[in-house]
């Protein structure tokens, strides 16, 4: 069994037939932006790309500005979509209608499984970089597959048993790409095509998936699931990533879901690199082969499946052997709902809006540890623009999760004589502005 769609099994032969049929529709170009919302279709698109020697593009967001950059990066890119109306400004390839999918005939029984070279470039994932252009990171097929072999082991998935993997995260995000698409495809487990959103949907899709079953999700979805008061169907394993969970929330989830909860640590550049069972230890255990190296104030990851030495965006205490502790994010970094950016990048985008004289983003109030979402705010000097106009311009440039709340128009920013902007001064200004605003 390779996948489940609405609870119905999809055989590997059907998958291969779908991949073969989609291949020619992707054209002669070398790159595919795969935005399929249905996880099964996404997987078919990914595999058809691999077979055809095409590279999948996985940007972290699809704002018009990012699509424009992608066009420059890969002028031959097409966009594979399963939606009727797409606002992505690339040549569109619609995922063919399921109703017209050829049922696998006798011929498919002898259909051979395509072999992909380990060195083949499978995907480019993108991080937002510090100025305008998204930064590409190459993912080769062999390293992705190697990482998934380790992930299967570290998640304790028994070889030879097919787990049904349900996920609330999109297949295009690095965590979802690995845990909800590559992991099932490369380790004999089955992906579930749906992406349940509301707690009631999560429970329904889980209940429809055969056991053993796994839920791949985030602290935000888990918190909503707990707070909904719904009965969580028994689940053999729950996997969480994008932000650390508190031990208390982890215990509550294990109890209510009659399950084990494992957290994955990783990044877009490195993929998954560590796992912990939060109810047993706050220490993370690295995947074999990966090394963490403190360099001055920074921590770098390299080795194993990590393609290139990568600076991690968290404050990390390296313990003995393969263990480490997380102590929060690096000051400039912003991580909202698994989307990463930096104050530097956001400030650059804000200040490139015509009419903005000066502007700066700041972190919202510190995380309360209850998996609530903390937003960023911004103070902006822009005589002649109103907040709505600035928000509309930002919406074209940055992912909506980073849109500032609040967006405060101020006469000037509290810069020092050298032009620096102390975060404390900025936050005091923001607090004073909010207090005096008529909204409060």
């Amino acid at each position: 069994m390779l996948a489940y769609r609405a609870g119905k099994p999809v055989l590997a032969s059907q998958f291969l037939a779908d991949v073969t049929r989609l291949g020619p529709l992707l054209g002669d170009g070398g790159h595919v932006l795969n935005v399929c919302a249905d996880r099964y279709r996404f997987a078919v698109g990914l595999a058809a790309g691999l077979v055809g020697g095409k590279v999948s593009l996985l940007p972290s967001t699809r704002t018009p500005a990012v699509i424009a950059h992608l066009k420059g990066f890969a002028p031959d890119a097409v966009c594979l979509t399963d939606e009727d109306d797409s606002d992505v400004e690339l040549p569109l390839v619609r995922f063919p209608d399921d109703a017209r999918v050829a049922r696998p005939g006798k011929a498919s029984a002898s259909m051979s499984v395509p072999q992909i070279d380990a060195g083949q470039r499978a995907a480019f994932v993108f991080t937002s970089g510090s100025t305008g252009a998204p930064v590409p990171h190459e993912k080769t097929f062999g390293r992705l597959r190697g990482c998934m072999r380790l992930e299967r082991e570290r998640l304790g998935l028994t070889p030879g048993i097919s787990y049904a993997i349900v996920a609330t995260v999109p297949p295009q995000h690095m965590y979802g790409f690995e845990a909800s698409v590559l992991l099932p495809l490369s380790s004999g487990n089955a992906l579930c095509a749906e992406r349940p959103f509301y707690p009631a949907d999560v429970c329904a899709v889980l209940a429809a998936a055969p056991r053993p079953r796994v839920l791949v999700t985030t602290p935000i979805h888990l918190r909503a699931l707990l707070a909904s008061g719904l009965a969580i169907p028994d689940t053999d394993l729950i996997v969480s990533a994008t932000a650390p969970l508190s031990a208390q929330l982890a215990r509550e989830i294990e109890r209510r879901g009659a399950t084990r909860l494992l957290e994955i640590y990783g990044s877009t550049e490195t993929g998954s690199i560590a796992v912990r069972r939060t109810t047993e230890s706050e220490e993370w255990r690295l995947f074999p082969g990966v090394t963490l190296e403190p360099r001055a104030e920074e921590t770098w990851a390299h080795g194993g499946h990590v393609e290139q030495a990568t600076r991690l965006c968290d404050v990390i205490e390296v313990l003995g052997g393969d263990r480490f502790l997380l102590h929060g994010r690096v000051a400039d970094l912003v991580n909202i709902a698994g989307k990463r950016s930096s104050l530097g990048y956001l400030n650059h985008q804000l200040n490139s809006i015509p009419g903005v004289v000066d502007g700066a983003f700041f972190h919202g109030d510190a995380d309360t540890g209850e998996a609530t979402v903390t937003r960023v705010g911004a103070c902006v000097v822009a005589p002649g623009l109103d907040a709505a106009a600035i928000a509309a311009e930002l919406r074209r440039r940055i992912d909506p999760v980073f849109l500032p709340r609040p967006l405060l128009l101020v006469p000037s920013l509290p810069r020092t004589s050298t032009g620096k902007l102390p975060e404390e001064a900025l936050r005091s200004l923001a607090a004073a502005e909010q207090k005096s605003s008529p909204a409060r």
């Binding site: 509301y198 707690p199 949907d201 707070a227 008061g229 979402v373 709340r405 909204a439």
Partner: protein, 101 residues
């Protein structure tokens, strides 16, 4: 859609819907820590995207509030789903039709 007639249910289009809209606006502003005063959210202003500027994280938060306050469990596969968050009025009508408390 089951027609679960509830004693809590108001006739559609009544003044009660307007009051429920205002109540929901207050709950949304509090739950999401919005800068906008609840009274400024128009009954027909879009909640998503360009309108009030909410995103899917907010929608999940609203779903929680709505389930706690009115006993309504939102479902994405409901055919009304796109309409529900089209505006405060639509949300109020949906809650009114499905509330269990």
């Amino acid at each position: 859609m089951t027609d679960n007639v509830s004693p809590l249910r108001l006739p559609a289009g009544s003044a009660g819907i307007a009051a429920l809209s205002r109540e929901l606006a207050g709950l949304i502003v509090t739950a999401l820590n919005l800068e906008v005063p609840a009274a400024d959210i128009g009954p027909d202003q879009p909640l998503y995207g360009e309108g009030l500027g909410l995103d899917s994280i907010d929608i999940l938060e609203i779903a929680l509030v709505v389930s706690k306050q009115y006993g309504v469990q939102l479902r994405a596969d409901s055919e009304d789903n796109e309409r529900i968050f089209a505006s405060l009025r639509h949300l109020a009508e949906y809650v009114n039709a499905h509330r269990t408390k």
